[in-house]
Amino acid sequence: MEFIRGFDLAVIIIYLATIPLFGIFFKRYVHSEEDYFLAGRMLPFWVIGMSLIGTNIGAYDYVGAAGGAYRFGLAQANYEWLGAIPAMILSAMLFIPFYWRSGAYTVPEYLGKRYSTAVRTIEALLWFFFLAAVLGVFFWASGIMLNTYLGWPIGLSIFIVAAIVAIYTVTGGLAAVAMTDVVQMLVMLVGGLAVMIIGFNLTGGWAGLVNMVKPLHPQHFQLFQPLDSPDFPWLGIVLGLGLVLSPAWWCCHQAIIQRTLGAKTEWDAKASMMGAAFLKMLVPLLVVLPGFFALALCSDPTQITNPDQAFPWVMRNLLPVGLSGLVFAGFIAALLSSMDSTINSAAALFTRDIYQKFVVKNASDKHYLLLGRLITLGLVGFGILFAPITNRFPGIYRAMQELLTVFQGPTFATVLLGVAWKRANKWGALTGLVGGVFVSLGLQKIWEPMMGLPRTGMNFLYVAWWSFLAALLLNVIVSLLTKPEPLEKIRGLVYGFVLEDVSTQEALRERAEGGK
């Protein structure tokens, strides 16, 4: 399917060469661990907002979401709308201020202050292994992508992408990650808008698109699908995606939260998430519409035998020379921006929550900075080695969702009660977290695809809901049966205290200044 040559290839190579140089520029601002993992807490809201969306959109979104739209229609946009916007508002108004004020670098670090070291460590390990595994997915996706479009061997493609990301992530830390994300977000937007304009031009605008698609696919223009739909049952979308998976992503995902902690003020931290929500509303234009264009304009069904071929078909058949290169650069940008954030966040988790907590305490800033860089490099190496294993899952996009679901529900329940309920204690959190993960594993049977067995597990949207509920109930019951946390310990870390007690502001400042 190799179809990018000549001028398009030049655009892509220039882009690939420029991004690491741009990232390296920010090395000059990195002198400490805080500079490396939190960009010295100097980022304005608009940089973080764009970086959040850059992190959120992966290349798998382009292929997977366009394929989903080709197959299911507008229902695919649930991931960008109901599956994001309410949670982003909640994250900005409720969760982010607490993370930011607590002075934490990571979500598990906040949980350590709120509950216990055990809860912190379990969360840190879950996130660390998940992010490391996701890296494998990203690297494999990059190999497949460059192989498909440019004809480069998969192994070589993975190595090139890994080298580019490693150069600017290792040297510039979060500042380089966030600033390159801004550039990458702009490239994605321009490329996506170009596809949209050309697509609408060919279909005769939105009305023309509806006229071409609706007669054959009447359900493609509705967000909700019936309850017996195997992929998008509306109740599963509302309960699993809207109320659990999405808040878990936007309120508890380390790669998401970490960049808001790099904000220069608490207002910037909150505004970054709200600003990102406005951008998020536009994402279906980039990733869902191409699926519709393929459905409307591809008259030969043998050209798209698998929905995931919808986006490549659009690129090959709709875009002129030069623009294909730009859109493909956007494609790579989506991949790089997710990859760099994942690497930086996983390194932060390991450095702060494992190494600093259990291995070498109270070392110098330089020591932790060096370790952060080494871990970053190690993660890139691990991602390269783990990449081929991810191919054993039935689909890359699905693999992401399934891996997340195992602990997203229990994590959200733990953080939610930690922030919102004073009575939640360390024993409740521990029981809820561990119990919720086991409920999730039991319902989803995630081992089946890995062992080549037929799937018998529950739809992941419902798994998220039930594991969340199980973790919530276990936390509440065990907390009520055991001793409450001392007020001094949780002061400033629970929502009610901040609103009812002015002196907590002082406690928060002291806690933040107290450091690790």
Partner: protein, 68 residues
């Protein structure tokens, strides 16, 4: 229990209630909490307004495309 007969507009109703609830909750946050850390209290920095606009657009989208 067979739930497959429940019409799709119930999904829209539940979603609209969710967005209205979130917007109302956001509007009721104290002003000091919203502006904490802001260099000034300009109207555009009032994140409660941002929340209401976001929820409003989403409600409109779900009413138009939610399903019947």
């Amino acid at each position: 229990m067979d739930l497959s007969g429940i019409p799709l507009y119930w999904g829209v109703i539940v979603t609209v209630i969710l967005y209205v609830g979130i917007a109302l909750w956001a509007v009721l946050r104290p002003k000091e909490y919203i502006y904490q850390g802001a260099p000034n209290k300009s109207r555009w920095r009032d994140l409660r307004i941002w929340a209401v606009v976001l929820a409003g657009i989403q409600i409109l989208i779900h009413i138009v495309w939610g399903g019947k």
